[in-house]
């Protein structure tokens, strides 16, 4: 149990930038370049991260398209969470034959990613799907694992992990 009370910063804004730089290089290395890649940020927390990551990728290799995905209608708990207006899916290219890198802020139970995998099928048949997250906090309920991780962060189930461009905070 953490001894401190109140919110506690685990990554600073600079740490996030460094992690994303590293992940960008890992993506390029693993896929032998960026050809055929597309980044898809999960609404809402993953969208800004996908955009940032695309910026780093463009600094290394050829730029890649970026989309966003709202998985609300694919969730197994649909109805328990309100739909957030204005955060609509936008997939700019056909996914047929491409390698999709799903991007999210926190990987927790894996249920969002499961919903995202199902939603992606409606846009075509990707060659492969990879997963990049800033924080892997454990507590998986499905057989899902990330390909690129900013930081592995063991947490208690009742803690709240908040990721923003300013840093990562546990509350």
């Amino acid at each position: 149990m953490p001894a401190t009370t109140g919110p506690r910063e685990v990554l600073s804004a600079d740490d996030i930038r460094r992690a994303l730089t590293r992940i960008a290089h890992e993506i390029v290395e693993r896929n032998h370049g960026t050809e055929g890649l597309v980044l898809v940020g999960l609404q809402r927390g993953g969208v800004w991260i996908a955009t940032e990551l695309a910026g780093f990728l463009a600094g290394i290799e050829q730029a890649v398209p970026v989309g966003s995905l709202d998985v609300s209608f694919h969730r197994d708990d649909v109805g328990l969470r309100p739909i957030v207006p204005g955060h609509v899916t936008s997939i700019p290219v056909s996914l047929d034959g491409r390698t999709v890198v799903l991007v999210d802020d926190v990987l927790y139970t894996g249920r969002t990613v499961r919903a995202a995998l199902e939603a992606l099928n409606e846009y075509g048949r990707p060659h492969a799907v990879q997963l990049a997250v800033i924080i892997d906090r454990g507590h998986r309920q499905l057989p899902i694992r990330p390909d690129y991780v900013g930081k592995n962060l063991p947490t208690a189930g009742d803690e709240d992990v908040q990721v923003s461009p300013d840093g990562v905070v546990i509350a």
Binding site: S72, F73, G79, I83, P85, V88, T89, A119, E122
Partner: protein, 313 residues
Amino acid sequence: MKHLLSIADLSGSDIHGLLELTDHMAEISQRLIPKVPALRGKNVVSLFFEDSTRTRTSFDTAAKRLSADTMNFAVSSSSVNKGESLRDTIETISAMGVDAFVVRHKSSGAPQMITRWTTASVVNAGDGWHQHPTQALLDCYTIRTNLNRRDGFDGLHIAVVGDIKHSRVARSDVQAFAALGAHVTLVAPPTLLPPSLEGWPVDVSYDLDSVLPDLDVLYLLRVQRERMDDALLPSLREYSSMYGLTAARAARLSPQALVMHPGPMNRGVEMVVDPAELAGSVILDQVTNGVAVRMAVLFHLLGSGADLKGDAP
């Protein structure tokens, strides 16, 4: 929200919330495979006691895109012909396990009655002269997207032209347009206006030509030919010359103005010019948006579990 019976039950922010949800549904409709599992296992039954092609198929398509099961109750081949009452029909079908009824009926208030006999949600798909709420929502969505008015209709001038008196579309649309802040003018011969307009948030004009140049939206209603028998109109030709959209009238519209019609259209009566040649015609957009709006309504009633802000009890 449990039922959608009338626009009058919705506040401006309720309407706004449904239109925002419709954005998500419109995106689903553009996917390679336009189907999501959100309403898997829900059973939606259409009960149309009055003829309809577009509303019925639109609701059917909407339910299927959300993976609901759909059942069409064909009144013409049902026990209604053996004298079964509306109540018995509803109770019988409800007993099979129904999550929503989509109801069209010639009698105003029939959907409201049905809510007493079932635990399912009821969506009014048109009742008599009273209401057709999803038509009003799809019309609002069409204006919102085509004129880029996401935040409301403040300052928009909309004319609704034609048989206001017998029109559930007019009643629903006027309430919805006004709730979003538009200025609405009714244009019709006196015989086709309701006897009293008390409580209607509108202006009235008998002269289409005088309001034309000022409009952002021209909304033409269908002339119901059966009204001719009631001697409310001297002739279709006279109606057409006074209130029909001719090429000359279309030329006097502002270039940005939208022309709308709920269908089915009477070509040569209210619509004299070919709408395919009207730059501002969004009549097919209305049909497309109808599916997305009905997806939003069904999802809101059956799937979202979340109440819109300011939800009516």
